[in-house]
Symmetry: C2
Subunit: 331 residues, 2 copies
């Protein structure tokens, strides 16, 4: 994979995964533009690009801003389409911003590509949330889609716009259905991105880790570097055009054990199993872990970082950088 | 089923299926409000309710008008949610109105129910288009969803909002995935609703019926009275809450044979097999016919009107009423 000199735009580029991807691409010699709205409730944080801030173009705009996107997209070789509203609870409390960002803005990005840059290659960050409560495990890409909340529905629409524009117009698009991603740069201020962020913060600030339900819900976790690698492979491979790939891990774990492992790695902290808050219970999906054999077979991707190593790296990052993430303002 | 005195609102109520449903409900003694935007490119036509025009309330407004919907929905016992943008080609040429109508407006209707009338029962008119090109035949409700155009994606979102609001908030909703519906009141001015409308018109105006491709694509057809019956059964049955049902028929037929049958029933006309227009070819789904055993088993629904009888009734209607449907204005 040679991204040297490639013109690359990343929506959600100041967010967790987008910024890690940006670092990797800048190091590979790419010409990188980051688009981010820096809406405080979402994932963007300028500190995420501190190591590369002199070597990327940052454009503060919202993917709902059609005109901005139309302009920025022109002349780009790759579009990593990562901007999204990620909070399931927020999507239920007020479904409209989720619809505008996760569905409508995706359509307008694709329309902009169709009209102004039909040769761009897109990688869309989708989510396991589309599968809803698994009908079997592990969940492969053929598993029926049955989202359990508004966020899952809108992400489903956003994903399928990419596939239809690939199939009908030849706008090359690949879809990655991400599972729980964690690592440096993740949102830790609250659970809007993942509960794991709050756990990490609580370890460091000395608060207990709350595990909802009975703690036996199984999940799989990917360290962010592995997800970045999957995105690059997907972008680079023609074989990935028009395809959907699950990401996943070899070490699914239940939430109680994950909390215990995190405490163990940190050498401090405590976890508590508490009842589900009603609003979360209503959209809980039970156990989930992915079958990721398709991307392994087609693109030779496998996750390299196990939970213990990933937790250690993540804890270390937030011990050093925490104040840039759980303060009230973006620094 | 007793709908006598029931307060009923039908979105898309001046459209093809909505108006047939209205006639049936008015005859059953229901208190019926029809909501329709009468956008000329869509299905609404005041002539559709000529026989009952003194016995229904007609409210001209668009489902995208949140305020109108919020007001109208209050105090209703049943909401038959039939308003939609149905043209696949239009959804590709300009995807935004399709998104606003088929997805966003559905969300705002459900939000209105949640806030102002949580005890209403909804029946949502969805479409076989969500399945895309069938992976097996006949297609049952477990078939993966893989829409091939923007219209299918947005209808998928609209459908799932209903299911999530049922599951999370207890807003009782049922989904019917309709296949090709035909009969009196269908749009015949163009193929925005179904190609069959254009065929019917062409028979009467003496133009040839055009069959795209090789004419071997199999379809199933439901006469509108059968679809109305399915909607009433679904509305009335608690067992249908939160469920998705396919409609279908026992006499699937390929398009060439359907055209020949129509010519035979009419006693005039001719059909021609012509190449697919490029824009239609790109979103064609190949053969389709539904497995409707679920609704037969749960709600005892079966289609009663065969193609020959249905075609004859439809032709008769348009011979007598055609001028109200293919003129330039709504009468």
């Amino acid at each position: 994979m040679d991204f040297s000199g490639a013109r690359i735009i990343i929506t959600g580029g100041l967010g967790f995964i987008g910024s890690n991807l940006a670092v990797r691409l800048v190091e590979a010699g790419a010409d990188v533009t980051l688009v981010d709205s820096l809406i405080p409730e979402y994932g963007g944080n300028l500190w995420n690009i501190e190591p590369i801030k002199e070597r990327v173009r940052v454009n503060i705009s919202d993917v709902r801003d059609e005109h901005s996107m139309k302009y920025l997209i022109q002349g780009q070789d790759y579009l990593f389409n990562l901007a999204g509203q990620t909070s399931h609870i927020d999507s239920m409390n007020n479904p409209y911003p989720d619809l505008e960002i996760n569905a409508k803005a995706q359509l307008s990005i694709l329309e902009a590509c169709r009209k102004h840059n039909p040769s761009v290659k897109l990688v869309f960050a989708s989510t396991r949330q589309l599968y809803g409560a698994p009908q079997y495990l592990p969940v492969d890409e053929k598993h029926p889609l049955a989202p359990v909340d508004v966020n899952g529905i809108n992400k489903m629409a956003g994903e399928w716009y990419h596939l239809v524009y690939n199939n009908v117009y030849g706008i090359r698009s690949s879809v990655l259905r991400l599972t729980n991603t964690y690592g440096p740069g993740m949102r830790v201020k609250d659970a809007r991105q993942t509960f794991l962020g709050v756990w990490i913060r609580n370890i460091i600030t000395g608060e207990p880790l709350l595990v909802f339900g009975d703690g036996r819900q199984i999940r799989d976790f990917n360290y962010v570097d592995d997800v970045v690698e999957a995105m690059l492979l997907t972008a680079f491979s023609e074989e990935a055009d028009g395809e959907i790939f699950n990401l996943g891990a070899d070490d699914p774990i239940n939430l109680k054990d994950a909390a215990t492992l995190l405490v163990d790695v940190a050498g401090r902290g405590e976890s508590r199993v508490v009842p589900f808050p009603a609003d979360r219970k209503a959209i809980d999906i039970g156990d989930y872990y992915a079958d990721y054999r398709k991307i392994r077979a087609k693109l030779s991707w496998t996750p390299k970082t196990g939970l213990r190593e990933g937790f250690a790296k993540t804890l270390q990052f937030y011990e050093q950088n925490g104040r840039h993430y759980w303060g009230d303002r973006h620094e």
